[in-house]
């Protein structure tokens, strides 16, 4: 089950769409649910499905299609670094390597203490600010030099 607060936020999203198109709010509902629960378990997906009057499989389809939804529990902080070509030309790939080395993990792995998960991301639409990374999907960090990566990791409690 989700908290009352999350359901309230979902209600606000529902207001954006025609009354007979509740399914349109499913992406926002999954985002809100993931914010609360950190990831989307089968139970969470079912809660969203019930609330929107959708079959759970239809909600799962959406959750598995868009790559910012987490279907497995990530570490406390999910760091996604863009390594696509425009970013790579300005150090995106180097920043990814540096993070791997600092955290002692590869892409798609989580540190043993459960603090950090490292992901390789696709274009975030911020290529002019490379190297770019996201913290837990919603916070974008731009122009990340090695010094700034160090600072970020300290801030996040490494």
């Amino acid at each position: 089950m989700l908290s009352t607060e999350s359901f309230k936020k979902i209600d606000q999203e529902l207001e954006k769409y025609p009354v007979d198109q509740k399914q349109s709010a499913v992406m926002a509902a999954l985002r809100i649910a993931q914010q609360e629960k950190d990831w989307l378990s089968d139970e969470t997906i079912e809660a969203v499905a019930n609330y929107l009057g959708m079959p759970p499989i239809a909600v799962f389809e959406v959750a598995s299609f868009y790559n910012m939804y987490d279907l497995q529990a990530p570490g406390r902080y999910k760091l996604t670094v863009c390594t696509n070509l425009p970013c790579a030309l300005s150090g995106g790939a180097v920043a990814g390597k540096y993070l791997k080395q600092k955290l002692g993990i590869e892409y798609n792995q989580t540190t043993a203490d459960g603090q950090f998960t490292l992901k390789e991301g696709e274009c975030m639409g911020a290529c002019g600010d490379a190297p770019v990374m996201l913290v837990n999907n919603h916070r974008m960090c731009c122009k990340m030099t090695e010094a700034q990566i160090d600072q970020l990791l300290v801030e996040l409690g490494k």
Binding site: K16, E61, N84, L85, L89, C123, G125, G128, A130, H138
Partner: protein, 436 residues
């Protein structure tokens, strides 16, 4: 920034995005003019046609013509949608527009709603820029509060509601019908066309989808006339355009210049090639556009027609600059990985073909290329192109074909010598972390 700039003019970073500042810059005057003078939808569309405004998202389709496709006497809902799902590698202009000038997009969409008889609109915002989505929501709230959105706008009998829809990480949703599927709460898989969105769009209703920058260009045209807009650029290429310059330049960023500006001028605005190195190649319109070698791009002007003649596309105006430190095989490998990753899986040639392309380029890059691989890449690309529902297949194939066309020697060198033509040290030097 050019003195003709109107999209980003008078902006001061994060400080002046709000309604009060937008109004100070002359904002919402175009909307007020339409309502005050009761300008007809037909007159607006005629003005757009005169302006030669072409879609800023990539295809460059004439906007006035697109708007004229919407049925006039349709009983029931019609929709206008903004495509801010900016995920084409190299493109980051809509993010700055929404961040620094969100109301210009809102005003453009309201005018679009008026011109096409729509009472509701959605702006689909790229998943990875959540903070900008929140800003756009804040701008919408300001506009509602001021009576610029909602019922009976500014006391007129025109009503229009506008909402933001936040994506969650799928490049394919930048394709307009995938975007509609996504708003409907489904997987973003493109639809067959026809029927086109103007007859069967969102929720099966007539819908027009334009790019963020396209909508942002509309208020200027209403206030100054189509001809003034046309004169900013060159014939058949009206207006200024935002160019997102990334890669090996001293000052990556967005630059607004008149269409028809010579490429070397833009390169200079961005500080020139980084470290004084030699320009090698440029992808002029986002990663899906064919790459052009330095000799061709340096002789080109930045407009739809000239770049098409040079063998590429102006696309979204995303200019990816690569200097002599770039290994073209490695560059293509990364792009091919992207298309494989982002293929929605609906059409076999794209789903299987993009993976095949990536695997072959990967093995060439890693010293396991076979003599027949270059022709194989060409043939796989040929067999993807034109055989898929949407343009992602072509978008994956075009870089491959163009990289091979212009840099075949470098691919051959990799296969023959099992290593890069460009020394690794130079590659590292060119693409280390750079914050200009």
């Amino acid at each position: 920034m050019s003195d003709k700039a109107y999209l980003l003019t008078g902006l001061n970073g994060d400080k002046t995005w709000g309604l009060a500042d937008y109004i100070k810059r002359g904002g919402y005057e175009a909307l007020k003019k339409i309502l005050r003078e009761q300008i007809t939808p037909d007159a607006i569309i005629a003005e757009l046609k005169k302006s030669a405004l072409r879609g800023r998202g990539g295809a460059g389709f004439p906007t006035g013509l697109k708007w004229s496709f919407m049925p006039r006497q349709f009983p029931g809902a019609k929709y206008v949608c903004c495509n801010s799902d900016e995920g084409e590698p190299g493109t980051f202009k809509d993010r700055d527009l929404l961040r620094f000038n969100p109301h210009i997009v809102i005003e453009g969409m309201i005018i679009a709603g008026y011109a096409m008889g729509c009472e509701r609109g959605y702006n689909y915002i790229h998943g990875e820029i959540f903070e900008i989505y929140e800003r756009f929501e804040a701008a919408l709230a300001e506009a509602r509060e001021a009576g610029l959105l909602g019922k009976n706008i500014l006391g007129s009998n025109f009503s229009f509601e506008l909402f933001a829809h936040h994506g969650y990480g799928a490049y394919i949703c930048g394709e307009e019908t995938a975007l509609l599927e996504s708003i409907e709460g489904k997987k973003g898989q493109p639809r067959f066309k026809p029927p086109f969105p103007a007859s069967y769009g969102l929720y099966g209703k007539p819908t027009t989808i334009n790019n963020t920058e396209t909508f942002a260009s509309v208020p200027y045209i209403i206030l100054n006339g189509g001809e003034a807009f046309l004169n900013l650029g060159k014939p058949n290429n009206g207006g200024t355009k935002l160019f997102s310059v990334s890669g090996h330049v001293e000052r990556p960023g967005n630059y607004e210049v008149p269409l028809g500006t010579p490429f070397p001028e833009l390169l200079e605005m961005a500080g020139g090639v980084r470290g004084g190195r030699k320009l090698k190649a440029v992808i002029p319109g986002g990663s899906s556009a064919p790459v052009l070698p330095a000799s061709i791009i340096m002789d080109s002007t930045l407009d739809y027609d000239c770049i098409a003649k040079a063998g590429s596309m102006l696309g979204s105006g995303a200019v990816i600059v690569m200097d002599e430190s770039t290994c073209m095989v490695k560059a293509l490998e990364r792009l091919s990985f992207f298309y494989h990753e982002e293929s929605c899986g609906q059409c076999t040639p794209c789903r299987e073909g993009t993976g095949w392309l990536y695997r072959v380029i990967h093995r060439i890059e890693h010293g396991q290329g076979r003599q027949e691989d270059i022709d194989l890449l060409d043939s796989v690309s040929e067999n993807i192109m034109g055989r898929t529902i949407c343009a992602l297949g072509d978008a994956a194939a075009m870089p491959v074909k163009s990289f091979i066309k212009h840099f075949r020697d470098e691919f051959q060198y990799h296969i023959d010598n099992k290593r890069c033509l460009v020394p690794l040290e130079l590659q590292r030097e060119g693409s280390k972390i750079y914050v200009g």
